[in-house]
Subunit: 204 residues, 2 copies
DNA sequence: TAGTAACTTCACATCGTGTGTATTTGCTAA
DNA sequence: TTAGCAAATACACACGATGTGAAGTTACTA
């Protein structure tokens, strides 16, 4: 129940709106979300601070909008499709790891910012929950696929495996390896694929 | 380089100090760290807001002190000792999972709070880094042990396995399973043990 | 019981969020 | 081309949180 701000019908309005979104992303990616203030966003967007509030009701709203924006615009969906297009469950698991390595690093900083505001903002929490639900469904689908092909490792149940796979999508895990430990995307993808196979796939 | 506040030599001072630490913990655990204000802490501790600043230079300093306090006082070290007392590397891995399930849930909320302030506070960041370094060492010791007994799964190297084990200590992972997915400590311990064995232990 | 460290009270500076209001800019439709 | 109106600006303000300063009060301890 985001306090929606009516669709902008003006060309100027639309420009400003996306300028703000871009500015937000830039600020987060260059300076980190700890210094993300409405003033900083406004300045970067070349707009008054007050104008930001004409498009987004709050800081949390802005962040939510940005995350949603990325989820729609970016080629996130396409990255995921490769998973479901895999010939069998086991290669789908591999593709899943590659998908994570491909798609998640781009949204990591913004997702972190949303994680922070969700504790105090109901709308952000709702959005986050919706995303997590989708992810959980994806994991469940993967686990079910394995089960159907008789390749789900003992003693995992579909539910348990789905939960664990979902938890393994953790931002901490991704950040820890790719940023703190400086792993490349490829290395991360391979290690995750290996981990997932070893854990959830039963030898044929 | 924490701006240390001289050791309290007064009985009253010592009482106040630990009252503040307790209050902080209580506030975090009952209301969550998003509403953790200095005023709330002071009130809970039955002390003036100003007094808090006589013991801790800042909010971040207070949180760091609390985390350190828990690390020392709590039976965290003892929990870990069981790992190194294991008869062989493989059971050490099992013990490691149990250790995580035992020790980490208690410090989760405080650790979260520190994670948040470390982005803006150098001292908190330093403390956090020191802790992570210890953990990484622990993981490396575990991986080396496996290697020495010829039980490190291919194609893992000691370094890669250590990094991955360390990343798997992720707060997100713990929180996701035990809180969001409502897993019990036991279930978490078993699943982690299974995951670690499947991934890193080579069949004898 | 005197001296002093520790605590309280109250005031204040600073910064970030979010709102209110009057005014100006610039898109768009007649 | 211009009248009308949406969108943006400028400026002021309330609020809440952090952190500091300074004078007065309480309660350990020697």
């Amino acid at each position: 129940m985001a306090k929606t701000i009516g669709e902008p019908r003006n060309a100027r309005s639309r420009r400003t709106c996306s300028a703000i979104l871009n500015a937000t992303r830039q600020v987060i990616e260059t300076e980190g979300f700890e210094t993300l203030t409405m003033a900083a966003v406004a300045q970067r967007a070349g707009v008054s601070r007050r104008a930001v509030y004409l498009h987004f009701t709050s800081r949390a709203d802005l962040l939510s909008a940005l995350l949603r924006h990325l989820g729609e615009a970016e080629e996130l969906g396409q990255s995921l499709e490769r998973v479901w297009a895999a010939p069998d469950a086991v290669s789908a698991v591999d593709e899943w790891a590659r998908h994570l390595a491909r798609a998640h690093p781009r949204i990591l900083p913004i997702a972190r910012a949303v994680e922070e505001v969700r504790r105090t903002d109901a709308d952000a929490a709702e959005l986050r929950e919706a995303i997590m639900e989708r992810w959980r469904k994806g994991c469940r689908r993967l686990a079910t696929w394995l089960e159907d092909e008789g390749r789900l490792a003992i003693p995992w149940t579909v539910d348990a495996a789905a939960d664990m796979m979902w938890a393994l999508m953790s931002w901490d895990l991704l950040e820890g390896l790719t940023i703190e430990r400086d792993w490349s995307q490829e290395r991360y993808a391979e290690a995750m694929a290996l981990l997932l196979r070893s854990t959830f796939v039963r030898q044929a």
